[in-house]
Symmetry: C2
């Protein structure tokens, strides 16, 4: 068994209303910042998985991302390996 560290990035799907993103855009004027647009606010979950191999660990993380971390109706997720280079998988 080995340990693998992942991050799951959960973001509102395109076209889905994002009230937190709108609130951030509304706050930018108070900070005197211009030229910022397209703000989307989501979640980031980091976790460690013990598994026989990277493929098995990734499968566990993708299941958690779908069933526990995201609402598939309105959110997209992407799975990222933190202890290796690059992104290993992504979801809808």
């Amino acid at each position: 068994m080995s340990s693998f560290r992942f991050a799951v990035n959960v973001t509102p799907k395109p076209g889905i209303l994002d009230p937190q993103g709108r609130a951030v855009e509304g706050s930018l004027g108070h900070l005197g910042i211009e030229g910022v647009s397209g703000v989307r606010v989501g979640r980031r979950v980091e976790l460690t998985v013990e598994a026989a191999g990277a493929g098995e660990a990734t499968a566990i993380v993708e299941r958690l991302a779908q069933e526990l971390f995201s609402n598939p109706l309105i959110e997209a997720f992407a799975v990222e390996r933190l202890d290796a280079q690059g992104v290993t998988g992504s979801g809808r």
Copy 2:
């Protein structure tokens, strides 16, 4: 002026209590999943910045990350360029 797309990953600092992470770990038993640990739940903010260059755009994002997206007492952030390769900067 060019457009640059960024993500800011905000996570609880090491040692800071993370009740959402604990809740996720408590839910894993119901899903029949073992071997998952070190769950940390944070935010991910994606945004587009118009600026003369990448350096100026990154400076704006780092300012927003410090003043608007994170609580520096209890959270760390990392800035990621989405329209280029790799991570361009990180914060505390």
